[in-house]
Symmetry: C2
Subunit: 496 residues, 2 copies
């Protein structure tokens, strides 16, 4: 795999000196065009062996381009705020917005490689990490990002030579650490793991470019030219990738049954029982979330449902059992300008809470496969891939011991009409009913179809949907509270 | 001071039960109006003695209002990312945007009070903290925020009684900690410090409301009503406070001299000297920023100057000496939607870097007293107060051992014309010259006046301006590099 990068590539000074000014001007122009278009972000990963010039290359790219529109991230040890969240959170928070270039020195590959070489993990776990990395990259590319991955390689002999020469020069001595030499003694191990990583993750969308790192001129010009070509090629492409996808037919059901239709919406709770159960489960939720072990837990709860299904009321019954300091409600409305400059899931990732906290999303990332699908705000391809992107997202949360609770509040079409009319009558509730609600109502069947697809495709063992029969508010609220308690209780039992 | 809050205020259940539904509806309506207007944020601070019901009150407010538009922040121990920045950073990052309510349980008063009671600080230092708090609050109010400060008080007897009764009930036992009892034994000390704090920081703009905390009904209804009144009163006010301020005359100078006119713009460096000096100071800067002690330091450098004065080129001469992983360039353009929903300085606070890092602002918070002043984007009162707000901001950075380096790049009117014309000729530089640049040029004198005022009012001992004679790019770049080196070298010497 690394054969081509051990041939002793080099470039003479005259050629380099002649080519660099041309390249620089072209890069600068491409970068300005990128910023002007502001249609896609550029994510550059720089990996490779110690001493192969990763840092130097990045510094040079910054010198060649306008560094104001490049952000370089050296992903060293994570901070405590980062450790409190799933591993990918620290990359999400640093993703470049559209029109900008983000360079990652050390990436989502760094720790999987180190852990495998050190024997902390086996190949199976390494491969799992690589699958996650591939999914992330695929999502980035599908969202329009240009993803470039460079691997700087050195043969064993060249690595030794390089480290020694860096050490000799007092100006570069600081760059060679004990760790570098330690890694050098593990050269073969690293090589095997690196090869596996590159083999598994060189995809059509985001291939690795292996660059021999010994000769500075060869390495620099190679990387610069590949970057320039990729930028120009991508800017000439039409804004949207033309993957024509047709929506799949609804799940077959000749008997017209679906997960929503089988709900028994007649279920009720009378006021007396409600008051008793409310006190019981709110008390229980209060105790659970105040137990010392809860500090190690995180809860992400999410509410979707028909308009007027009572999401707000249900959320309030939960929050009034919690300490106001520990929860956060994120109402999902139209994305802000900064959010629109990022991949779809970015605005949810930014709200993933720290340990010991509860975050409640009032509407959520499922908007992609509900309103955005039905109203055609995104393409079929976009919402079709969203199912697996969402499953990946939730898997990452759950892997990090976050309890993910998802509620769909279902009411009948008749009950919705009754509530709409009631809302229009009551003064301070009038703000809750808009033209849009009436419009959505006209598309009842489309939404029902979308909801059934959503449940079928995203109700997973680790993050199941709880469908809530919400024609009766009392019944719905208690079912929700009880589910919250059960899920948290189970998680607390598992937590050490 | 606390006399009125030791009278044994209470409210009977019947009155409370009758008033609460009315209050709740009014609060909800006010909150909706607040969100709809989205003209100002509401910052609520809740302070007070242990057991006085601070947490309960906040929970109740969340229950009474729509919790989706309220964010509650329990400001406990800071995270490592917060410790790496000035103390106020953690409050800035949690400020509510316009239209929202942010409740802070534990505020910028918490640590100053605790430190004083524990004897870590003396009154003089406490008073300094209080001055900083007052300035922050004044700035928030000037920027349009509604700031409400509640202090929950208990007499010594009532505090003991309260803690004991909380401890007796198994449901509330978790709320009483060893620390609470420890604080109880320090009641008199706390009382004295609290009184000093309230006395010093009860301003016309942001007065404290002292509430007796023993009777839950009395306390809750009092806080709720004050909040409602304040919200409604504020929403009826005209958007902009009508403080009529006239711009001060220019600093008197009958001889027409000013700090810009006395610059010797003829200073030059020939190419040979430039190349030698460039290598020297870039080498020095590289060594300084790579020294182990630099990990404890932070550098915030800031570039302002006439259009076409060569800011970009100067910045690049600095960054090419740095490791790309350690610096970040923030080009300041029009604020984003999220930034416009916050006080003016918010978009700079969000970029204050961690330790060991260099952040370079290409244009900066001085836009307020330059372009915003000259183009009348803000009122005279706004830019007049900006001088001291900016000084406060920079003081906080410097107090946190951040090296603040500020450059003004000055060129003559003739040199600017020459460069504009040159830029129009050269292909890849054409994007750098716009209509706006020509318009700005017409206001040369206004800008000059603004710059002189700015330097006079914000060149401080801790964060001095460096005026750079920039007609000759070589001379300018070397002066800038040398200044960076000198400032960092001095800071490293001081750092332990």
């Amino acid at each position: 795999m690394f054969e081509s990068a051990e041939l002793g590539h080099k470039l003479d000074k005259a050629t380099y000196d002649a080519e660099v000014p041309v390249l620089r001007e072209a890069l600068l122009e491409a970068q300005m065009e990128l910023a002007k278009q502001a249609k896609f972000p550029v994510v550059i990963l720089i990996g490779g062996v110690d001493g192969a010039g990763r840092g130097e290359t990045v510094n040079l790219l910054n010198e060649w381009m306008d560094p104001r529109f490049v952000q370089t991230h050296g992903m060293g040890e994570p901070s405590d705020e980062e450790l409190d969240r799933p591993m990918m959170w620290r990359f999400w928070r640093e993703l470049p917005p559209k029109g900008r270039i983000g360079i990652f020195l050390g990436s989502w590959y760094t720790w999987p490689i180190l852990n495998r070489v050190r024997g902390v993990t086996k190949n199976a776990e390494l491969d799992q990490s690589l699958e996650r990395a591939k999914k992330l990259e695929k999502m980035l590319v599908d969202e329009g990002a240009l993803v470039l991955k460079f691997w700087m390689h050195l043969s064993r002999e060249k690595q030794e030579k390089r480290l020694k020469s860096l050490e000799k020069d007092p100006k570069t001595r600081w760059r060679v650490t004990k760790r570098d030499w330690e890694h050098y003694t593990l050269y073969d191990k690293f090589n095997a793991v690196n090869e596996r990583v590159i083999r598994h993750t060189s995809t059509a969308d985001a291939p690795w470019t292996i660059v021999e790192g010994y000769d500075t001129r060869y390495r620099s010009l190679t990387v610069g030219k590949i970057l320039l070509d990729a930028l120009n090629k991508r800017m000439k492409q039409p804004a949207k990738r033309s993957t024509e996808v047709t929506a799949p037919p609804p799940m077959p059901s000749i008997d017209q049954l679906n997960v929503l239709k089988t709900l028994d919406l007649k279920q009720k709770l009378d006021k007396k029982d409600y008051v008793r159960e409310l006190e019981k489960y709110q008390g229980k939720l209060a105790m659970l979330t105040r137990s010392p072990k809860f500090k190690k837990l995180t809860v992400v709860a999410m509410f979707e449902g028909n308009d007027a299904a009572g999401k707000g009321g249900a959320v309030r019954r939960i929050t009034s059992a919690l300490d106001a300091r520990q929860y956060n409600i994120i109402p999902i409305a139209a994305p802000t300008e900064e959010e629109r400059a990022q991949p779809y899931l970015w605005r949810f990732w930014r709200h993933v809470p720290r340990r010991g906290r509860v975050t409640i999303f009032d509407r959520s990332w499922y908007g992609r496969v509900l309103v955005e699908r039905v109203e055609k705000f995104c393409s079929v391809a976009d919402w079709m891939r969203a199912y697996s992107e969402i499953n990946d997202f939730e898997t990452q949360l759950v892997r990090h011991h976050i309890v993910v609770v998802k509620f769909w509040l279902a009411i009948s079409k008749e009950e919705q009409l009754r509530r709409f009319k009631e809302r229009e009558k009551i003064g301070f509730k009038r703000f809750k009913i808009t033209e849009e609600d009436w419009r959505n109502r006209d598309k009842w069947d489309d939404y029902e179809h979308a909801v059934c697809d959503m449940v079928d495709r995203t109700s997973t063992e680790i993050a199941p949907w709880t469908l809530v029969e919400a024609n009766d508010k009392y019944f719905a609220r208690i079912k929700i509270l009880k589910t919250m308690c059960d899920r948290i209780e189970a998680a607390l039992k598992k937590a050490k």
